[in-house]
């Protein structure tokens, strides 16, 4: 379903963020992307989100080469993906609930339905009592959870999560992983960039390991497990 074919990404001349990365993710799979800081995890997610252009190589999603997608088709493509950003990216002038409901309103849902679903998502991530707060009135972990709720509330085909537990303690991280597993069981493909090895070990999923832009390992849960 997601297919990277010898993808490279460079910023300027001597600054290669990805080198010749190839892998395939099947529909309905859930996997981790790990590697040291600056290895290129975020870059892979940004390429998938069309936030950056590929320098060399080809990315196919559902069989379609996304780098030659017409710009008027991009919004529809993005609506199939829910992304959790490493820096949260919430709208400051909207409440937490509005931020989550927005994701549904953009897809054309009525206000009533949007707010009902948004409320349910807030309950799931455990910050129901902050519904009418503004993002800057939340702690970082709470903001991160709003971002997570926004990504999954519309039940997209793919969820891209960039360090979704970076600001969360281990207990909460595990709770959230349970949500991801539940979403995965509905058939949603989930790609999580993370360096939380504790979490990765616990979940027993496929793990892609990046090192300085190169894909150095691909551990399947069936095969021997990734033990750093």
């Amino acid at each position: 379903m997601i297919n990277f074919n010898r993808v490279s990404k460079s910023y300027g001349k001597d600054n290669k963020a990805l080198r010749d990365v190839s892998f395939t993710v099947e529909a309905g799979e859930m996997l981790f992307l790990t590697g040291h800081s600056g290895a290129g995890k975020t870059t892979i997610l940004k390429l998938l989100m069309l936030m950056q252009d590929v320098s060399y190589g080809q990315i196919k999603v559902n069989g379609q080469d996304i780098s030659c997608m017409k710009s008027r088709k991009i919004p529809a493509y993005r609506r199939n993906i829910g992304m959790i950003f490493q820096d949260h990216r919430l709208l400051e002038n909207k409440t937490v609930l509005d931020n989550i409901a927005l994701s549904l309103q953009i897809r054309g849902y009525s206000d009533t339905l949007s707010y009902k679903k948004a409320n349910a998502a807030l309950v799931q991530v455990g910050i129901a009592e902050k519904a009418n707060f503004y993002p800057q009135e939340l702690s970082s972990g709470q903001q991160q959870r709003v971002g997570i709720a926004r990504a999954f509330v519309a039940k997209p085909d793919i969820i891209l999560a960039d360090e979704p537990t970076g600001n969360l303690d281990p207990d909460l991280s595990l709770d959230l992983m349970k949500i991801f597993e539940k979403l995965n069981s509905l058939g949603i493909t989930i790609l999580i960039a993370s360096h939380d090895l504790f979490l990765i070990k616990r979940l027993q999923k496929r793990v892609l390991v990046l090192e300085k832009g190169e894909l150095i390992d691909d551990f399947s849960p069936q095969k021997n497990m990734y033990t750093p």
Binding site: Q52, P75, Y77, N80, R89, G108, D111, G187
Partner: protein, 313 residues
């Protein structure tokens, strides 16, 4: 792979989106009221300046017509022509299409007219009365152009009954020069002001949009189409336009109130009879609609430039 998403109907989505965008666009200026007030004032000023010039121009146009009327034409009749013939001739002149009124003056009336001038009256009183020729005084309609008057005079001057025709060529040419100058100045300032207004307006709206840059970017990323992204910003622009238009009209009213007394006292001194007119209701409505369209357009332009500038991240 599709789940039971119950994708809603396209048309109701569209209506819903616009409803939301209107209420959002309306609320946006209130999020930072002081900043928005400044923006609206700046826009209002942008609209005020050309509007003020336009209103002055409308008033000047009226004034010009009343001035043109002042240059009346004096036809001196040959002394051989008797009173009856003069009467027939007067009637002929009165029948001409450009003539508004005409009348015969005798020498006493002429002296009377001359004595209205302070300096001349002294001289005239010192001159013993003397036979002056009979004279027909003609006023032309306000719409008459200087060229038409020229033709009229040329035609008359070949008439054997006419000794000489005097008309205030200088007055008309001065009026023409003044009008031309004002027109030229008005053109230059209109051009300058349109430039100015464009720069300030674009800058102001662009600033307003730049403040929401992250919002625009994020909306794009969560899958909003460009039409959806910009919709509420366009409505915001429109609301700014309406507010600014209203304030500009209020400014105009205030400044005309101020000018009125000053102009009136000036005009009395020159013996001209005009009153300054403000804007009519239709004109006010027109102004607000135009200001709304301008801000909408400015918002649209700076939104698309925002889209083009969008860096990858």
């Amino acid at each position: 792979m599709k789940r039971n998403n119950a994708q809603p109907h396209a048309f109701s989505c569209y209506i819903r989106g616009h409803k939301r965008a209107i209420s959002e666009g309306f609320l946006m200026p209130w999020q930072r009221p002081l900043k928005s007030l400044m923006t609206i004032l700046t826009l209002a000023i942008c609209f005020y300046i050309p509007l003020f010039l336009w209103t002055l121009w409308l008033n000047y146009d009226e004034l010009k017509q009343s001035w043109q009327n002042q240059g009346s034409i004096a036809i001196f009749i040959e002394s051989t022509v008797d009173l009856k013939e003069t009467g027939i001739f007067l009637q002929e002149i009165k029948d001409l299409p450009i003539v508004e009124s005409a009348s015969v003056l005798n020498s006493d009336a002429i002296k009377n007219q001359l004595s209205k001038d302070e300096q001349l009256s002294q001289i005239i009183s010192l001159i013993t009365a003397h036979d002056l020729p009979r004279q027909i005084s003609v006023s032309v309609f306000a719409e008459t152009t200087a060229d038409e008057i020229e033709v009229f005079i040329n035609n008359l001057s070949i008439n054997p009954q006419v000794e000489y025709i005097s008309y205030d060529k200088q007055w008309l040419s001065q009026l023409k020069a003044l009008t031309n100058t004002l027109l030229q100045i008005a053109r230059i300032s209109a051009f300058m002001f349109i430039l100015i207004v464009m720069v300030i307006l674009a800058n102001t709206i662009a600033n307003e949009i730049t403040d929401h840059k992250n919002e625009l970017r994020l909306l794009e990323l969560i899958g909003a189409s460009w039409a959806q992204v910009r919709r509420s910003f366009l409505y915001m622009g429109t609301f700014f336009g309406i507010y600014a238009g209203i304030i500009a009209v209020i400014f105009i009213a205030i400044s005309f109130r101020w000018l009125k007394d000053t102009i009136n006292s000036l005009v009395q001194n020159f013996g001209i009879d005009i009153t300054l007119h403000g804007l009519s209701f239709q004109q006010i409505a027109l102004v607000i609609i135009i200001s709304l369209l301008i801000t909408w357009l400015a918002a649209r332009l700076s939104l698309s430039s925002q889209m083009l500038n969008q860096v990858q991240d």
